[in-house]
Amino acid sequence: MALNPMAQFAVKPLVPLHIGHYDVSFTNQSLWMFIVVGAASLFLYLAARSRSLVPTRMQSIAELSYEFVGSMIHSTSGEGGLKFFPFIFTIFMYVLLSNFFGLIPGSFTITSQIVITFSLAAVVILTVILTGFFRHGIGFLKLFVPKAPIYLLILLVPIEVISFFTRPVSLSVRLFANMLAGHTMLKVFAGFVIALGATLVTSKPWLAPLSAGPLFLIIAITALEILVAFLQAYVFAILTCIYLNEALHLHDDH
């Protein structure tokens, strides 16, 4: 049994497949992606199937999540943003469920892989850029020109361009680093519990009850990680809404 806290992030192929030179094996990461998507779809389908006017408990959870994302989009991007509701809802539920399922002991956290979070962030930025160009044509580039006198613009425009292009990087690294740090911390404390418990078979068995300390810490940190899982999903979704709002209504001040 490895006490290495980083061993949990290893992507292991479960069903090796090769197409030509490419390794397209079905890995544990693919398995958990299927589980997340399957669980989200199954839950929403089954919960909303009865469509009763006075909702049952499961239906009310589905309605609450719908309402939560809907009000988030409406408050940040107004009516024009509601066209993007399926996109934002999918991103929110996907990130939320992958973060939550990663807390199950023995599972694999897909959002702790930078390739997954970077793909999501790249899709978001591509959507923002394409929306901006389709709606405003070449006038979308006015996004980088705030209202300022000309001598400040020479400094401001490069800063605005650079800050726009660091958005996908910061979106992806924020989610990835939060998940990585949280899970590594959990495994490090678990290592402490095992190391202290293993003193039962050595010459100092009185140290073994001290393993209750790290155990309580693990319980508290898991509670923190549940909060962080929800918060990171919410922040990813709301930043997507804010970027879409900037693309849809360039610099409209109302």
């Binding site: 988030m72 690294v173 680093a177 939060n178 918060l231 922040v235 709301i238």
Partner: protein, 74 residues
């Protein structure tokens, strides 16, 4: 100095970036609390900005942590 020792020292130094994250997060929540205690009616409307500010602040600290992990593991 051997590479492994230099890596450990580098990773430890890179974690000093988390000091900024701690100060920033404390600042965000402290400002929210002092504003909410003066004007409780307006507090509920600002919870969105609170969580957003917290996450953005934490992200910059975690960028430093990612550099530390990169130094340590590659």
């Amino acid at each position: 100095m051997e590479l492994a020792a230099a890596k450990m020292i580098g990773a430890g130094l890179a974690c000093i970036a988390l000091v900024g994250a701690g100060i920033g997060i404390g600042n965000v929540f402290g400002s929210y609390l002092s504003g909410a205690l003066r004007n409780p009616g307006a507090a509920a409307g600002q919870t969105t900005n609170l969580y957003l500010g917290f996450a953005l602040c934490e992200a910059t600290g975690l960028f430093g942590l990612v550099i530390a992990l990169i130094i340590l593991f590659t």
